[in-house]
């Protein structure tokens, strides 16, 4: 797959969220605040979100990387690194 830029990744991310949390639109969700503080996502929703990213982008996100998936911007940065084949260091 050709590498997607940050804007395309952001779009794919919101598209993946839409069926799970229809209220999570780019207008409503701030990119710099933790996603789960802004919308009500339980573990099942989060797993469905990770699954949808896998389907759209072909990236399989291991559970050990979940700590990277905090804000929209952090997820975009993580996905960019995964596209380039660089594995980000473990989240603090």
């Amino acid at each position: 797959m050709t590498e997607m830029d940050a804007d395309s990744l952001r779009q794919a991310l919101f598209a993946a969220l839409r069926p799970i949390a229809p209220e999570a639109t780019p207008e409503e969700v701030r990119g710099d605040l933790p996603l789960r503080d802004q919308i009500d996502l339980d573990s099942m929703d989060f797993l469905h979100f990770v699954l949808a990213l896998h389907e759209r982008l072909g990236i399989d996100i291991p559970e050990s990387d979940y700590p990277h998936l905090t804000t929209i911007e952090a997820i975009v940065a993580y996905l960019q690194q995964r596209q380039r084949g660089t594995v980000p260091p473990p989240a603090a």
Binding site: A21, E23, S43, M44, L47, H48, D60, I61, E63, S64
Partner: protein, 378 residues
């Protein structure tokens, strides 16, 4: 000849509105096939047929609201003669006419208890439209609540109707069921370790959630301790041989429903996970099946995501118990005289004292705890 009737999709359902037929006259129906969609206060439900036959006649038009037990369609079986079908048709038509006739003659003065009048105001029910079933046609609280349940909502009113349905079921539960409550802190260290290792080797499409382990442990424990699994009906407890777990699912627009996953004690964890994932998705999309709505034998609620420590739930009648799980987090535990941190969860049991005693409940929770210490055998 088979009369396909509107099934009860939960103890609190009296009527349903047919939204659409999914079959046509002349079509063959197989076991488990969805034949129509019925709107209840909770959801639009796909109603399945549990018998096989050829659709002979559809008796109810989409848009009609009918009582539970009303014949919706007639299915033909091999060997049915035209005479048999015609006489059955006449019998059904007579039953429908009898049901439509006014049951109570007009009275000069309506008797309405003050409590019923107050309840009608609370529920937003028109008291004049409620038919009384009390002495001499008096309108009682039960009549008002039935009236509220029978109101079929427009989609925009669904949230309010769902609230009323929950209100009625929960009020009935607290009126009728003598609850007792038990709680037990369970060490999840080995369960979470096992889960992490499992999920590392599983592709994302087959990953498991801890809730899966809870459900399987509860189902196996319920099979061992049947006093918490079944229904209290007609003044007595009727244990259920099957374990159909109701899974409390909160809806994004507010409210919750608890449809069943069937035979959880016999499912593999992978199968249970698929069932849970599918059920949550369809419950939130408002697309459930009749078999899922009608028969949970025990309900499980997991409020751990909301960071509460423990849940003391209200039993959903006619069930006799509800199991709750709180938040998983590191807490101090004592092992061999030393305090150390370990991930724990509080499992709680709300149970009906008419069906079981605290001793039964305690044994049940102890079994859940033991099963969760050996996740590989779940």
């Amino acid at each position: 000849m088979i009369e396909f009737k509107l099934p009860s999709l939960g103890a609190d359902m009296e009527k349903g509105t047919l939204l659409e037929w999914r079959v046509r006259p002349g079509e063959a129906v197989t076991k488990g096939q969805v034949v129509g969609v019925v709107d209840t206060t909770k959801a639009a439900v796909d109603v399945e047929s549990w018998q096989e036959g050829i659709v002979h006649e559809l008796l109810v038009e989409p848009g009609a609201t009918v009582a539970v037990g009303t014949t919706l369609a007639v299915l033909r079986e091999p060997g049915d003669t035209p005479e048999q079908l015609a006489s059955a048709r006449a019998r059904i038509a007579a039953a429908a006419a009898a049901a439509a006739a006014p049951a109570v003659a007009a009275t000069t003065e309506r008797r309405v208890s003050p409590a019923a009048r107050k309840r009608a105001q609370e529920l937003g029910v028109d008291i004049d439209a409620v038919q009384g079933a009390g002495p001499q046609g008096a309108v009682t609280i039960a009549d008002v609540e039935r009236g509220a349940a029978a109101k079929t909502p427009a989609p925009a009113d669904r949230a309010r109707a769902l609230r009323q349905t929950i209100a009625m079921a929960m009020a009935r539960s607290k009126r009728e069921i003598p609850h007792y409550y038990l709680a037990e802190e369970i060490n999840l260290a080995s369960a979470l370790d096992w889960l992490r290792r499992e999920n590392e080797r599983r592709p994302v499409t087959e990953r498991l959630l801890v809730a899966c382990l809870y459900l399987k442990a509860v189902a196996l424990a319920a099979r061992k301790h049947p006093a918490v699994n079944g229904f209290f009906l007609d003044g007595q407890f009727r244990p259920s041989a099957a374990v159909h777990l109701g899974v409390a699912i909160s809806l994004r627009g507010g409210g919750l429903i608890a449809p069943a996953i069937h035979d959880v004690d016999r499912l593999s964890l992978a199968g249970l996970m698929r069932g849970m994932s599918d059920l949550v998705t369809r419950a939130r999309a408002g697309s459930l099946r009749s078999s899922e709505m009608s028969d949970p034998t025990l309900t499980v609620t997991n409020l751990g995501e909301q960071s509460v420590d423990s849940v003391f739930g209200v039993i959903y009648p006619p069930q006799v118990a509800l199991v709750g799980f709180g938040q998983v987090r590191d807490r101090p535990i004592v092992v061999q005289g030393e305090v150390r941190p370990a991930p724990t969860v509080t499992a709680s049991l709300s149970a009906d004292h008419r069906a079981s005693d605290g001793h039964d409940g305690a044994l049940f929770l102890a079994t859940v705890r033991e099963l969760l210490q050996h996740p590989e055998s779940l």
